[in-house]
C-alpha cells in the first residue's frame, strides 16, 4: 500500500551491510536501533562505531517503543525531489524518541494536514511503503 499522503512517491531506501537489519525490521513493522552495550547509547541512523565511547564491535540491535513527540516542522512547498513535487505542500517534521530525545526521526506526518501540525504533540509509530516495497518508519499524531 503506497503512502497515505496523496501523490507522494517516496524514494526507496537501499539497504547495505550496515543498515540491512534496520530495514529488514521495518519490513516486519518493527523499529530497532543500534545500541552500544559498552556505554548504553542508542544510535540512529546506524553508525560504524559508537559516537560516545568509540567502540566498534559492541552494537546490538534493540527494539524500541514507537512513541515520540513532534519537535518542530516546516512545510515543503517547492521540493527539488521528484517524488515530492506531486505531493506538496507536505509537512516535514522532526520527531524526538521518548526513550531517548537525543534520537530524532524525520516524518511527513501522514494524516496531519500541511501546516496544521500540533507542535509538542505525542506521535506513534507506523510504517509506509516506498516505491520498491521497502517499508519506512513514519509517525502520526495521537
Amino acid at each position: 500500500m503506497p503512502s497515505m499522503i496523496p501523490g507522494l512517491e517516496r524514494p526507496a531506501p537501499v539497504p547495505n551491510e550496515l543498515t540491512k537489519p534496520f530495514w529488514d525490521a521495518c519490513n516486519e513493522q518493527r523499529l530497532v536501533l543500534q545500541n552500544c552495550t559498552a556505554c548504553n547509547r542508542l544510535h540512529y541512523p546506524p553508525a560504524q562505531k559508537c559516537s560516545q565511547c568509540g567502540a566498534a564491535d559492541k552494537f546490538i540491535w534493540k527494539a524500541v517503543q514507537g512513541k515520540g513527540h513532534i519537535d518542530v516542522y516546516f512545510v515543503i512547498r517547492d521540493s527539488r525531489i521528484r517524488g515530492f513535487r506531486s505531493a506538496q505542500p507536505i509537512n516535514f517534521a522532526v520527531i524526538t524518541l521518548d526513550e531517548d530525545p537525543g534520537i530524532n526521526f524525520l516524518s511527513n506526518l501522514p494524516g496531519t494536514p500541511p501546516g496544521k501540525v500540533p507542535v509538542g504533540a505525542a506521535v506513534e509509530l507506523m510504517f509506509e511503503q516506498t516505491s520498491s516495497g521497502q517499508m519506512v518508519p513514519e509517525w502520526r499524531a495521537i
Binding site: 517516496r10 524514494p11 537501499v14 541512523p45 512547498r77 517547492d78 527539488r80 534520537i103 520498491s132 519506512v136
Partner: protein, 431 residues
Amino acid sequence: MANSTNWMRDREGLGLWEHRGKVAVVGWGQSHIDRRWDGVTMDRSCGGLTKEACLKAIADAGLSPDDIDGLITSPDTRAEQTWAPRPYFAPPYDTEDGITKCSAQWIQKQLGLPNVKYLKSDAPYIGPMMGLAAQAVGDGLCKTALVWYPMVNLEGRYGHNNPQNNKNEAPGPSAFTLPWGYQSGAMFNNLVVFQQYCKRYGKSHDGLAPLCINLRRNGLRTPWSYYALHEPYLITREDYLTARTIEEPLVIHDCDRPVNTCAAFIFTTAERAKDLRQKPVYVLNHCQNNNRGRSSMATLDEHQEACSSLARKMWQGSGLTAKDVDIFNPYDGYLTFTQQFLEGFEWHGVKHGEAHDFYAGDIRVEGPHPFMSSGGNNGTGRTRACLFSDSLEQLRGTAGARQVTVRAETALAGCNTPDSCGFMMFSKHPN
C-alpha cells in the same frame, strides 16, 4: 601540511597559529557576474571568468605571472550538472574543465604560469580553501599562491537537475533522509535548527527581514555585484514578508541567488608582501568545523556548541577576542543560520536568542554595528567570496560606499554552515 585534512585547525587546544601574521593576502580579483552562463559566450564561461578574476588578482597585487608558484582551487562550483551530453567547443573548452570547473592545470596552461610548483585542484569549498591556502604558504609549499573560487550556474532550475533528486532509490546515508523529502545541502537541517531557535526564544521568521533588507542595501553598494549590475533596487519589508515561499516559512529572499562568476585571491609570505602594490592584509588564524549531529537532524544545541567551539578555536589561534573584531562577514547562504555565527562569536556582545533584536537595530555600514558590510551572498549573489573580499577592502579602506565608519583593523570571515565551515581572521597588522 596542506596535502591532507591534517592541515585543518578543527580541534580546540592547538594554541596560537604557528604562522600567525606571517602570511598575507595581497591581491584580489573579481570577474564579471551573470545570473547564468548563456552557453555561447566563452569569456563568460567558467574558464573565461576564472581567467579574468585571476589576471585581476595578479595585477591588483602588482605581481607578474612569473611570481606565482602555487595554484589552489576547489571543484565545489555548485554546477550540479555537467555540460555533457551537449557538444563541447573548440579547445580549451573541449571538456568539463573550463566549462563547469576550472582546474589548476587548466589555469596554469591558459595563463602561462612558468614557475608553479604546487597545484591543488581538489581543495574544499571556499571557507576551508582559504585556510588551506594560508597554511600552504605558511608551511612553505609555495611562496605566492593564486587561489580562485568559481561559481557556475547553467540553465535550468537549481537542484532539479541533480541526479540524486530524480531517482526512485535512496542509497547510502540518503536512505535515512531522502524518503521523507530531505534535500541535501544546507537548507533543510538549518531550517529545522531555525525553527528550534524560534521555539526556544519566542522568535519568528519576520525577525530576519531587517537583515535581508540591509544585505541588499550593502550589495547595491558593491559595484560588481549581481544586484548592482542587473537588478539595482532595494527590497522592502513588505517585499520580504510577501515573497514566494520555498519551504514555509523560508522565502526566496532567504536563499542566496545562484550566479555565474569567479573570485581570486593572492596569498604570499609577510616578507614578500612588504614591497607589493597593496598594503598587506595579514592572516592571524584560520579554523574549521567538521561536525555532525548525533541523529537524523543536527539540533540547535549542537549548532550552538559548534559555533561556540569555532569561536574558541579562533580566539586561541589568533590571540584576539570578540571585542577585537571590527568587521564580521559570516555566511548567509540561507539567512536562517547567519544568526548562529553572530551569537556564537558574540560579535558586539550578541548572545543566544538576541540576534533578531540586533538585526532590528542599526546594522547599516555607516552605523555603529555594520554587520556583514559585504552585503553577503544575499546582497551580491552567491559568490561566497564576497565575505572575504569585503573584509580585505574594509581593511584596505577601499570599500567605497560600503566603507564602515567604525574602526576597521581586523576582519573575520567564513563559510559555510555552523557544523561545516572554515573561518579566517584578517588584520592590518601582523601582530
